[in-house]
Subunit: 467 residues, 2 copies
Amino acid sequence: MSGIRGCMIMRPWGYGIWQELQRILDAEIRRTGHENVYFPLFIPLSYIEKEAAHVEGFAREMAVVTHHRLEQKDGRLLPASPLREPLVVRPTSETVIGAAMAKWINSWRDLPLLLNQWANVVRWEMRPRIFLRTTEFLWQEGHTAHVDRQDAQQETRKMLAVYRNFLEDTLAIPVLSGAKPASERFPGAVDTLCVEAMMQDGKALQAGTSHYLGNNFAQAAGIRFTARDGEKHFVHTTSWGVTSRLIGALIMVHGDDNGLRVPPRVAPRHVVIVTASNADAALNAYADELCQRLCAIRFDAHRQIVGNVDRRDLRLGEKNWSWVKKGVPLIVNIGKRELENRTVSFSRRDRAPQEKINLASDLFVSQVQDMLDEIQQNYFNRASDFLAQHTQRGLSTYADFEQAYSNDVFPRPFLHVKWCGGEQCQAQAEKLAVTIRCIPFEQSDTAGRCIICAQAAKLDVVFAQSY
Amino acid sequence: MSGIRGCMIMRPWGYGIWQELQRILDAEIRRTGHENVYFPLFIPLSYIEKEAAHVEGFAREMAVVTHHRLEQKDGRLLPASPLREPLVVRPTSETVIGAAMAKWINSWRDLPLLLNQWANVVRWEMRPRIFLRTTEFLWQEGHTAHVDRQDAQQETRKMLAVYRNFLEDTLAIPVLSGAKPASERFPGAVDTLCVEAMMQDGKALQAGTSHYLGNNFAQAAGIRFTARDGEKHFVHTTSWGVTSRLIGALIMVHGDDNGLRVPPRVAPRHVVIVTASNADAALNAYADELCQRLCAIRFDAHRQIVGNVDRRDLRLGEKNWSWVKKGVPLIVNIGKRELENRTVSFSRRDRAPQEKINLASDLFVSQVQDMLDEIQQNYFNRASDFLAQHTQRGLSTYADFEQAYSNDVFPRPFLHVKWCGGEQCQAQAEKLAVTIRCIPFEQSDTAGRCIICAQAAKLDVVFAQSY
């Protein structure tokens, strides 16, 4: 965290992960037909006021710009020149993008309008937590407009699937997907879909959301189109986003006692070659040559393997640990013996750091791509096993529920159980700090009773404690 | 512009150019050893106050956040919950990054520290102008710390050279580079270097700056290191940046009566295939096949050729003009005749749009890369010729000076002339809205007289009107 309340500093390694993540997700968002735009940071109060539920949801957490100048007075710097209309620092951009859509959309030919932006947003946090809940965070926010409900809902499902694939394939984080109960919807949404991941304490982290906004924002901003039948209709809009909290998710899903473990697909570096501190010219040349050979190998469709030589004037062990802590997938040590034998001694971050493997350098070069793939897969498998182990199905009584979240149960479980649909049962669960994380798309057709109140159940849901 | 005072909306084509530009410049910034980071949007007043010249320079244009909540009152939304210490929305990040450097830097081993961030910044604009002077803009800001003046000054020169190459090679914009006179330095800088470009009205646009900050910010933030001799010293810092105004520069340097002309290296699309509106399946298949062949060709080290088929239900001419206006380098038309003969009819954006070239499609595919290179080069050559034509050297009297900027001279010229170094001569020039844009690095060693006051000259300088 920075010295500025609730705001974080992203240092090179963390920002490097964000940049890889952004590159990969951006390509996918564009591939699915969306175009990137950039809208203003500041939103006039008059825009915000237009959608009642939206105001209600965000009013308590908005940073407000009221002045546009500072003045020296009695040796202190004070705000001067008040604005006629205060501006809010965007907490999200439905209202400002809606105002533009109202100008840009005329006929059904202009639809669907598929926009996305990468931006910073601000939501004033009373209990900030690094990467997970910060006053300012980075995100992408998609905003789309459609001719009808069906097309818009299809979009929300499509983008949720993009998030799911991205989390699983790229970040190696298995997720549940489904809809939020009404009480957990985005302010102004008709329907909120989500992907939820399990952290190593068993708590759920909302990793991405996709909202069907109905006509709510279209009516607030006057986004209308002339349909094929010549009539004017309001568009149906969606919005969807993931944020820099994904870095927090990655740390909390894959980290171990030795620090971070970064899945190779988003690792800023795949391999670091650490030389002994008494390295001579021959050893340095060997390190450079190895690094060049590795970096000439294609990692995936988008980039080569990224590697570097660490020749800092520090002890070998100290250098190794600095990379273990950062979570670099492969750490290669070379000293006199490795040089003489043309071998490498390396450790894989998916195994114990003490476990050193010796290999002829040619073999290492020829196997490096497979090892990186294996590491990626191992992280995913481990997280999937963990999720499966700490997920309980078939519990049916409130006694079971209380037992599942009693103080001695760690990690906390995800419960796939039945719910009556009643808010009083949600309130009851919240006494144990447990909420309904999602209503899975696939619903069983068996009858059953609500785990909280034992009345006839309406829905299969997943309960969990959450961040 | 958006409905929000001084703030712009970047629509897909403009943002697409920014994204290409960012990708290429980012690679260069990283290649030269800098690491990306992200620092908070908000800066406490106490940080800003520490550097006197910095406050002085920015106080009049800072957006100030004073509240962190909104409240409904009498049907209106009003700021509530005042902050104990108001926050400024960053106009630039020397102070906040300096505070972090003070924590991160201990010894000479930690230097140089080479950071960069891509971010939005806010400077309240009284006379906003789209892309050139907006209240919020996007930029990259490099911030580095060094052991001594020499190393820091070398950094400012190196990054200015990166900007120069980037502008010339990638944006096809020729620039002058040099130092700013004292009156035009960045608030808090010891020395400001710049690259300046000539727009088509002959006015200068500052396209990038690189500042040597001496110990000013190091003293303000307490950034000290233990040198090899065991003594504590203040670091020497630099900062350097280019902004989204480069898109404005690109429009104003390369645009013609028909609209924008985008240099291929930053074009979001290189080629658009426009089909006749009565296209049948065979014609569509021909278009798709051609598009696929083009998009399989490597454009440069970083990307393939980007192309698409425009099959909108509009007249051919209307579709063509929409792409001419956007500045797509190559526009290909295919209709029945082209299909039958396996040819294409295309126009190059560096020539008149009416000039249609017919070519066998195989030939077009084999020549497309060369044509794109030619277009890139032609834009640069044209801009260079224009700069040369409207640059005057050797003028020596104030009468010459007045004549050069008299009302009937258009475009306005750049004057390479001599200056005494006196501020009163700068004030005199400003009466004609003319300023010293830069003091070129290469100084002639001939004596001479100031063009304004005819006293003995100290420096060769470039005068121009500017944006």
